[in-house]
């Protein structure tokens, strides 16, 4: 039987941020402990106002070996990139 606490990935949204960003990982026995450990480890210097923790085993990642098939084709389809518009100067956060 595995006696190690499972690993959890920690995501933090800062006060001025819009998205939770990956900050690191913690070991914890359950979800509440994972939140508290993440709070104790990763928010000591006011890094954020919102925490997500996800069991590492739940994260499904793309295979680096497939990176070419997954991401290369988008490179030459410039019609998808929003670079052909003149953005009016008074629209700040497009």
């Amino acid at each position: 039987m595995n006696k190690e606490w499972p690993l959890w990935e920690v995501f933090i949204r800062s006060k001025n941020g819009l998205a939770h960003r990956h900050a690191g990982s913690v070991h914890a026995a359950d979800a509440q402990m994972a939140l508290e450990n993440a709070r104790d480890l990763y928010t000591r210097r006011q890094e954020g106002v919102s925490l997500w923790v996800v069991p590492s085993a739940q994260i499904v990642a793309s295979d680096p070996a497939e990176a070419e098939a997954l991401f290369e084709p988008a490179k030459d389809k410039i019609y998808r990139h929003p670079t052909f518009y003149d953005i009016p100067s008074n629209v700040k956060y497009i």
């Binding site: 606490w5 070991h27 026995a29 359950d30 509440q32 508290e36 450990n37 104790d40 480890l41």
Partner: protein, 259 residues
């Protein structure tokens, strides 16, 4: 409005500061030794919260001392590092050794549950400074209560061994909890002046909260025990002497050392 005696206020600020300082020190002893690295951090964070509270209370005590004597009072460092055990006013509960993780959690559960109830009242104190310190401390204490409560439940409703250790920790420390709700003339006068909360009145709420946590943790309420008291007179258990020797050694061996 009853006039407040300054030496009562000084005494009370010391009591609040010393309990926070001694418990903060005990928690710092876990750093590097906790069951997991994350818990090293948790213990350190809790300890730092308490030491921060101690700094505020002791600095305030020093200011009051200055008002009493007309000369500059001692500062927080002089009060923390240069008083001997007989002059310390912390609750006996917080000077008890850490023991195992369960005993540490039991001590935290008892103390933080009390501190939360006490500071909720203190936040409305007639003394502005005490009220301000209490208000600042309440969010910190809320986290301490949450941490201790969840660990009590995890250990109590855990394995055979964790349940046994948690029950032992709670049973062994229960004798030091009566003192939290006791009083003396100093605190009676301060309560009458609206400065300090009525400690005895906090007891039923504290008891109810503890019983609720223990129920959820499938643990028994500890059996009654002859209370061990003495803090308000500076009569401590033998543990405080060793704690202060370690905590104060550097300042006493190298007075005024800074780095």
């Amino acid at each position: 409005m009853t006039t407040v005696r300054k030496d009562d206020l000084f005494e009370y600020a010391l009591r609040l500061g010393d309990s926070a300082l001694v418990l903060g020190h005990r928690l710092s002893e876990w750093c590097g030794h906790a069951p997991e690295m994350e818990l090293d951090m948790a213990m350190s964070n809790l300890g730092l919260d308490l030491i921060g509270q101690a700094r505020l209370f002791l600095t305030y005590a020093g200011e009051i001392e200055g008002q009493i004597t007309g000369k500059p009072g001692r500062d927080e460092d002089q009060l923390a590092y240069l008083r001997d055990a007989l002059d310390y006013r912390n609750f006996l509960l917080v000077e008890q050794p850490n023991g195992d993780w369960a005993a540490t959690i039991a001590r935290q559960l008892y103390f933080s549950t009390f501190q939360q109830l006490c500071f909720e009242k203190l936040a409305a104190s007639a003394d502005e400074q005490l009220a301000a310190i209490a208000r600042k401390a309440l969010p910190e204490i809320a986290y301490h209560v949450r941490f201790a409560t969840e660990w009590t439940v995890r250990l109590g409703d855990g394995t055979e061994e964790s349940k046994r250790r948690m029950q032992e920790g709670l049973n062994n420390l229960f004798r030091f909890t009566d003192e939290l709700f006791a009083s003396d003339e100093v605190e009676d006068r301060l309560a009458a002046a609206g400065i300090a909360p009525d400690a005895a009145a906090l007891r039923p709420l504290w008891q109810a909260r503890i019983e609720q946590v223990l129920r959820e943790a499938t643990l028994d309420v500890p059996p009654p025990h002859r209370p061990i008291t003495g803090a308000r007179k500076g009569h401590h258990t033998e543990h405080l002497g060793y704690l202060l020797a370690e905590m104060q050694f550097l300042q006493r061996a190298y007075p005024g050392a800074r780095w």
